[in-house]
Chain length 351, copies 2
Amino acid sequence: MSIKQQRRGTGSATISDVARLAGFSPMTVSRVINGGGNVKESTRDAINAAIKELNYSPNPAARSLAGVEPIRIGLLYSNPSAAYLSEVLVGSLDRASRIDVQLVVARCEPPENYREAAEHLLERGVHGLILTSPLCDLQEVVDVVTEGDQPVVALAGGKPSDDLITINVDDFEAAHAMTKHLIGLGHRRIGFIIGSPIQAASGRRLEGYRAALAEAGIPADEKLIEQGHFTYRSGLAAADKLMDLAVPPTAVFASNDDMAAAVVAVAHRRGLDVPNDLTVCGFDDTAFASSIWPELTTIRQPIAEMARTAVDMLTDEILAHRAGKSLPREHRIAAFELIKRQSDAPPKNSR
Amino acid sequence: MSIKQQRRGTGSATISDVARLAGFSPMTVSRVINGGGNVKESTRDAINAAIKELNYSPNPAARSLAGVEPIRIGLLYSNPSAAYLSEVLVGSLDRASRIDVQLVVARCEPPENYREAAEHLLERGVHGLILTSPLCDLQEVVDVVTEGDQPVVALAGGKPSDDLITINVDDFEAAHAMTKHLIGLGHRRIGFIIGSPIQAASGRRLEGYRAALAEAGIPADEKLIEQGHFTYRSGLAAADKLMDLAVPPTAVFASNDDMAAAVVAVAHRRGLDVPNDLTVCGFDDTAFASSIWPELTTIRQPIAEMARTAVDMLTDEILAHRAGKSLPREHRIAAFELIKRQSDAPPKNSR
DNA sequence: TTTGTAAAAGTTAGCGCTAACATGCACGCA
DNA sequence: TGCGTGCATGTTAGCGCTAACTTTTACAAA
């Protein structure tokens, strides 16, 4: 007796296996998978059960060969805050390749060419877009990309709205937690450097800071709050002003790492030791945070994870759209993490 | 008369179109494409001509469906010098997706888990590996990944050898050019901070520096040369030593941007203006270079382009390997660029 | 000339999936 | 009873490619 050798095949389950197990034809299975209509509820359930049992997932090559247009997602970035970008890329690529979605990455530098870059992507036929920070906070950019009817995800930024799916950490809670951490160390005069006013997160971070102070019963001192623009240079200026105060802060919480690094630079220039004379902490956990010395205590956003989520959500939207349905725009909140490094310590006088 | 509507199909040429045009069967075309043997020279030429004329390229989905194992390339990185990483990713992904090669990205942090990470990739069935800096300079890592018979490309680092394909800028020429630039500005006492001794590029950069000085007839002063480790912290120490010299340098050329940033920090701490009191320049053009102030004059390696090349070379190797042939290990040199920003100026006394 | 043999080419079938069409069936209405 | 109507499912064929097998051709040895 000869066992017929399978000539090819990956060994994993096929749509026919599922069909056989469920007792229907492959076509019906296909309909269930692709959200097609006209399938009885009980049939759908039986097929889904079979899919689960066989741990089946459709072969993307066969699918695309059979004429289904593969899902393409555009990723628009600018301002290579490089650590951020690489996390975005690693996360989104990882997920995209796993679920066989094409990712088209494009750089754009507002205000010059954002329109062009966006149109370029749309021409390439993308079915959805991911907008990374700080693009999501530029209203013109958002307007351009939401003109069409492709779904758009704003990653770490952007105002939740009906046009935009957003994925963010809770900036308020994160800033609140960091401020509370500083208060816990014994600090009472805590300087704050606000981020760029055009980014929505800046305001939320400021409020988190204020709220933590208020909760601890520490009176707000507006002189301790300086405006910055998320740049190193703006951090230098803000830090100088803070350190020139009659009673300077014992800790400075900057709204991002670039500005925090600038605070460290200013402190050093003035002969202050970080963290013993001045505690400094940042936000974002970019490469900066761990490449300067001392390394910064900061807030980490799970960017890679958020990027993965972005790809998933877009894909769901696109599939729903293809099936003629429509999903409500979701607004996800991801969990942040307070990364404690070497730039924070109790204030001097409290020891 | 009814024109039969094509139900599906992408519209682009298929292997049958090529076969028809060339006057052979699709199978023979397939053989030509896949480097199979037993095709007459004249046939091969005719088919290649037809391929060119129709601008044909095989449909990857159909190919993979027909059972050809898709090419998978592993990319190993560590030490997220993030700008570098993002360039590597953008470049390699761009090319990989265009030629339909799968890229499997993995992080590894020697000395803990490099073996594990490498083995993990190999288990995932990658057919070739890209090793990014600084991994390519760790002999243990290189040993592990070259154990098998997959081809390995060292990107921006590594010693050219029979085991390793390398892609580098000419570190000697680049350091030479930068030093010459400084001499051209009028500097005569130029400090140099050497990179990590374990990376081969460090030595080549030092030699470039020495050669440029020698050419200009400037006597070498060993006190102006300090050892560093490519880290910010090592840059701080080296800069302090240089600035403590009886006759300190008027310019410092650090072997990477992190150390150059540290030199700027030390200068500021000592009340020196950059570039008016001290010229500082770096190497690599990482994010650091343009996020601190003043922005660094530095050497840019075309990392994205080099990454693209890496993917191409590996793919060629893998295809050659599959066809039973073997290509010699190549060692490519890419063109660097001297990026002039705001951290260099003529020395004070020369004005 | 016949035959053997290897090189060069062609044929067949099938990878897994889905579009288009076909069918079956229940239900309501004339 | 017959007949449309619409839902639920099945059948057929083909997407583009290549593995495995078969056939043809070229050419040398018998």
